[in-house]
Amino acid sequence: MAHTDPRFHVPAPHVRPGDTPDFSHIEIPPAGTARRPDVSIAGSETLDLALGLVRVLDHNHQAVGEWDPKLEPEIMREGLRHMVLTRVYDERMQKLQRQGKMSFYMKSMGEEAVAVAAAMALEKTDMVFPSYRQQGILFARGRDIVDMMCHCISNSRDNLKGRQLPVHYTWAEGDFFSISGNLTTQFPQAVGYAMACQFKGESRITASWIGDGSSAEGDFHGALVLASTYRAPVILNIVNNQWAISTFQGMAAGASETFALKGIGYGLASLRIDGNDFLAVYAATKWAAERARAGHGATVIESYTYRADAHSTSDDPSGYRPKGEADAWPLGDPVERLKNHLIGLGEWDEERHAALEKELDQLVIASYKEAETFGTLHDGPLSPVQTMFEDVYAEPDWRLRRQRRDLGV
């Protein structure tokens, strides 16, 4: 502990390891209370939505209020399936990393709705610029699981030829942009891409995701300035999962009451939503997409959620936050909440859910077995080593040709 009172303000979370998890300071408005304005609303008139919390599923797991997207059960079951698959995949990949089959992995536990519901609310051809924790988009868009695994183990079928760390997916065919390790760089790029969509007369829009911590980067400001200035058809998502590795969200938020509030200063429509509420994420994304496509400009969406697991396989959260915090999180678990909603509607039951989990677990296990047949990072086969020199430029120049020769390949 500090020996003296700090001379300047350093924000700190309410609790630390050894303390009892405590979210009593967080105000959770009841579901269904937020208004749903017309998509043409001026950004500056969304202040109440930037400070509030759009929620659809109430504590009885019923859908209430103006934001209820009134989805067909079939769509919700599909969403549930994508979320369960995301979770099962994450669990399996984490285990495989622990067994030394992969160098690195990052789960999205607790944040499955943020990715899956948003992806389902977008058109499949809308270009997405995710961060490294929106793998749910890939499942929602139907990417081949074996391909995803082949990327993570950098084998001979890795579509990125072993050049990127695991989870840094690229899937051009699925309009899923390239994930970069550099935080927030994709945020202003998404705006440029969206401007190009407009320029070419496409009805496509773009969406990008960053974390609460990444909103401190300068590119966050750049993206919001561009989006506002050029009225670009883009959805700028801030996934506030409370933690940026070991630093709590207050380190990036500072004195700003919410992250969505930051959008208001740029004149952008700004919503703060329950990120663990599949229906809220779906409805807000649909609203923002409709707004963008109609030419009313960008929307900033803060998804309020909780990073239920470690930052990555290289991280141990017990060093900076209390054990059991995820269980204490007042917005619950996105999978459980959608599941219970469907059960309440008589459209799902525990037996079917257990069967789904089992089916997807087997699918993931079988997929990994298949992925391994294309090689593993440690035992190969990898992408041929000479491919290391390809794609730096459209054509390798003399330097790369010489260097390849120097390596003897």
Binding site: M127, N159, L160, K161, R163, Q164, H168, T170, A172, F177, S178, S180, G181, N182, T185, F187, P188, Q189, A190, V191, G192, Y193, A194, M195, A196, C197, F199, K200, T206, G218, D219, H221, G222, A223, V225, L226, T229, E390, D391, V392, Y393, A394, D397, W398, R399
Partner: protein, 337 residues
Amino acid sequence: MSKMNMIQALNSAMDNMMERDANVLAFGEDAGYFGGVFRVTAGLQEKYGLDRCFDAPINEAAIVAMAIGMAANGLKPVAEIQFSDYIFPGFDQIVSELSRLRYRTAGTFTAPVVIRTPSGGGIRGGQTHSMSPEAFFTHIPGIQVVMPSNPYDAKGLLIAAIESPDPVIFFEPKRLYNGPFDGGAGKALEAWGKHPKGEVPEDHYTLPIGKADVVREGSAMTIVTYGTLVHVALAAAEQSGIDAEIIDLRTLIPYDIETIAASVNKTGRCIVAQEAPRTSGFGAELAAQIQEDCFFALEAPIKRVTGWDTPYPHAHEWSYFPGPKRFINAMREVLEA
């Protein structure tokens, strides 16, 4: 053919390309309505419309990122950074994103952006209007780096840059915008109109990226340089009577090792010259590679003529800028070595 200064030649290149390819866009701070603080984009907004040539907010990172996003969706953005001294806020987007997009996506996404930026000293620009930051960029795999030294090359190379499938950082020596400059401080400005390279075709043409130009043939030594110093080197050869062969690199990445090596193998002596500070400058790369490729032909150590390892000064500009005297001294040393 028309007489053009470098600004007009660059403007003509933009005009040609915007005419030919509806996906070519020009933007940057003051690049739209006003036509750029150096007038390179003058008239383009009026001719091609508000969404083909437009003003950008003062945020270099955002300008580069916007260009990346647009290029990834098939447009051909030509972004302007007002002074190369101000490219650094965009450095992360250039190093981490622009240069690597093709590589890290195994060619499934590309961003063939051109970033135009005025660079170099000799204009009393002080610390933040005189820098030659090319070596920061020659160190980045995945981008091409180009610097013309005259209007004819400027147009041909800029068109080639726009047509290149790879991202290009296009440095424009602002000292040469209105006329050639041989380093004679205080001399009246010469105009490009009297210079053979000030004759520029109005139509589309390209010069190959990666190809150097032997601007003066000689036998006593080879001087490898680029940008403003090409003219300084020519003046030094003239004034000293030393028969130097002078190579205008034109493209820094990929540099034309064949032309350089052929020359050094012929002359046996070599000077590399840059305006930028000496340590870890691009000249160091040239000297190392020439040493490796031409070791048995070299009769003297390779000498570097460069700016000093200081920030670019205002008052002492002409003690900083490598003028003809510094060239001549170095040339004599190389001859006597």
